[in-house]
Symmetry: C2
């Protein structure tokens, strides 16, 4: 239902556009959901998108398509549109979408666009632009439905009928006191099923979950998820209601934050699939820091191995087990750090539990280390059996034992490093997802190699 029809739609729209079949194209676009048109645009070229967009007649649908466009697609689309084309769409959108679109253009053009908007829409957008896009203020819409405590249910329903135009997502009625302070909430359903002359203060839920404008979007998402809310009220420093964050925007935040965390852990920039030179350069640059850190760590490991060259000339087989030992240790480190980073992001653990988490990961690392240490030790004995270097020094058994101990030790080190480092970064208020990947891998590589040669020198007497 999801994947298939979009691909069909993409093919159809492309074919009609290439054939200049304007009438058919208009017809198919008019009967397609705006969200699907936005999805189709992801698969089209830059100029093709604009040509097809121009075949959408209805200004409301044009506005919806523009507001649903992906952040990868939006800027190039706006570059191809004149101010005169954009402004009516900005005025048509809900104000949080207006702000998102305005955030995708350069500062100068933003000011020009704002100045061409109606006074009211401009002021609203201007207010919202003050907030960091990744906070409650940046996510909220000011189109909430708020009434005074003494309002009756019948009056509230009348007011709802008057205000209908701007309140796409009104499923709660917020109750405020004479100073605009948020004091309670009533669901639309309670409003409908209560006797008409009931005051809102009699049926409102006074203990209301709220956020401040500056609260981080991850926190907003966490509250909506935990308390199963459809909207979350946003208040200013004086506890005055200034907007609501709706659940549909929270869903986007949750998906986006999860994606970001995944990409950060792999140091992988953005999920984008453009093929032009600018796109490729951007992608290559975004992956650079992670790779540079790995390179520096890797050169560190090279240096250590280089300094054991004399030992390797005696037992060349030592080199053969370097990749498997640091590879296994790297995996263990990644496993620990993924679990700890995700646990921190979901709020399942906090930094006060560092010791507990480290002990746990150490224990799991040790279980794995013992099992795989024995396995790899056996392989090392087989490899070392007829090896002249091994025979001339400690013998195959000692060689196997040293590989065994090294793997086990490296895995334990990796588990501890992989669990403690993200906790440490969290405590220093550095995002653990972005910082730990290269740090852990590099530390594990260097410590693993050092441990391996240390054990070998000791056990083989080289």
């Amino acid at each position: 239902m999801l994947g298939e029809p979009i691909q069909v739609l993409v093919d159809t729209v492309q074919k009609l556009e290439r054939r200049n079949a304007a009438r058919s194209l208009r017809k198919i676009l008019a009967s397609t959901r705006p969200e699907d048109i936005a999805e189709v645009f992801r698969f089209l070229g830059e100029t093709q998108r604009k040509r097809i967009f121009d075949h959408i007649d209805d200004v409301e649908i044009r506005a919806l398509v523009l507001s649903e466009l992906d952040t990868d697609v939006l800027p190039s689309m706006l570059e191809q549109m004149t101010d005169g084309e954009i402004v009516p769409l900005l005025e048509e959108m809900s104000s949080d979408d207006t702000v998102d679109v305005l955030a995708a253009v350069a500062d100068e053009r933003r000011d020009a666009l704002l100045n061409k908007m109606s006074r009211e829409d401009m002021d609203e957008a201007h207010d919202l632009l003050r907030y960091d896009p990744e906070t409650a203020g940046g996510l909220m819409v000011p189109d909430y439905f708020a009434l005074e405590r003494s309002t009756t249910c019948a009056e509230a329903i009348l007011r709802l009928q008057d205000d209908s135009a701007d309140l796409e997502m009104a499923f709660y009625v917020y109750v405020v006191n004479e100073n605009g302070h948020l004091v309670g909430v009533v669901t639309l359903r309670q409003l409908v099923i209560s006797p008409p002359n009931t005051a809102l203060s009699d049926i409102m839920q006074p203990d209301i979950v709220r956020v401040a404008t500056g609260d981080d979007q991850e926190q907003v998402a966490g509250l909506v998820a935990r308390y199963n809310l459809l909207a979350l009220p946003v208040v200013d420093d004086a506890n005055r209601l200034v907007g609501i964050v709706t659940v549909d925007d929270v869903i986007d935040v949750i998906r986006q934050e999860a994606t970001e965390d995944m990409l950060k852990m792999a140091g992988a920039g953005q999920v984008s699939f453009g093929l032009d030179a600018r796109e490729l350069g951007k992608a290559a640059r975004s992956r650079m820091p992670w790779l540079l850190a790995t390179l520096v760590g890797g050169i560190g490991a090279s240096f250590i191995i280089h300094s054991f060259e004399e030992q390797m000339l005696k037992v060349a087989l030592l080199a053969a087990f370097i990749p498997v030992i640091i590879g296994m240790a790297g995996n263990v480190g990644t496993q620990s750090l993924t679990i700890v980073t995700r646990g921190l992001a979901l709020g399942h653990i906090d930094v006060t539990q560092t010791a507990r988490v480290a002990v746990r990961e150490l224990a799991i690392g040790m279980i794995g280390g013992l099992i795989y240490g024995v396995l790899l030790g056996v392989v090392a004995v087989i490899f070392g059996h007829n090896d002249p270097g091994v025979s001339a020094t400690g013998g195959a058994l000692a060689f196997g034992l040293s590989v065994s101990i090294s793997l086990c030790g490296a895995m334990i080190i990796a588990a501890v490093v992989g669990s403690v480092v993200p906790m440490m970064f969290q405590r220093l208020s550095i995002d653990p997802a972005v910082a730990t990947g290269p740090f852990v891998t590099t530390a594990v590589d260097i410590l693993g190699v050092l441990f391996y040669f240390g054990v070998a020198v000791f056990l083989l007497g080289i």
Copy 2:
């Protein structure tokens, strides 16, 4: 707002419980949101949880706490409860939660519990238990609000007032024809703001997004996210409305699927932090397959290196650059596979775009490979400058060149493998998140080492 008070609450509750301050404990639990109590339980020991749970008096709150418990916590809680304690709570919950709780006990006990429930609740739970928990059928509640086309708005509001008890999340009125087929939807707001004698068929939206009971939960989540829905109707094979999936459950699915994908990519089992032997054993076992695959791949790499032992006895410095080359290649592979896997999960790309994606990743891998290849080549020349083995064979420049080419080549190979393998798995209907991690790492290790020695043998003439 999120993290802090929970930790305070945990400390307070634990202190009161230890002091046997039953009255204070009851008081504090009665004034805490059920979702927060469930969150507190995550930080308590098994038996302590149960002792504190017993201090919650209200059966509704007990039911809510139980239904909000994490899947890590729920089974041990249920083990400590008698059937007589559980059944009233099951009857109190919404039916999708009842089913989730029942899914956490062994088959025999499930049947016993079902038999002790009221006829109606038992039948409802029995119906839902037929569906795979990860499908629309497993997520849905049968408590939707559906009316016939000719119903007027006034009648609909009356019906809503009668039915109020079971309809926690009714924000849409579904419209069905005489056969129970879903034909449209009306929002609660439209109902309130339309003239009382309007028929639902006059204001309903007929083009309604729906899913079938067997549709995967990821698809359900994708539709709710794309179309900004609060609930999604679920129909059976005959297009008869059988339930709705609400947005709060979809949020849980999105968080859970993202977490699962992250953990699968790292082969890291579950996000859990228990410290007892059973928990540790479970965690170690869950990480086993990934590590075993890495071990097998690593032994393969060892075997290849072993077979170049003669060459390494001539140029021992060759060993020093193995970790950095396969480490860099491993990272590039992980970056490509993360982007492709996430792109597939979010529906941004599909398998028909394999060639395009592979070309893109190849290009990015090549950019990185050229830059870092030159950098590492310089380091290799410096290391090789006074190295007797290097001087006796091709010389420092040839050595640097071979390291350079090897890094660049390994990175290109890794980018292609990391992007093509998840696409391949997707085409074979194998979850790319679970399968690609070990596969890509192993393939990259082996191919990287082979390429490295191949180039060295050729350029150094060893």
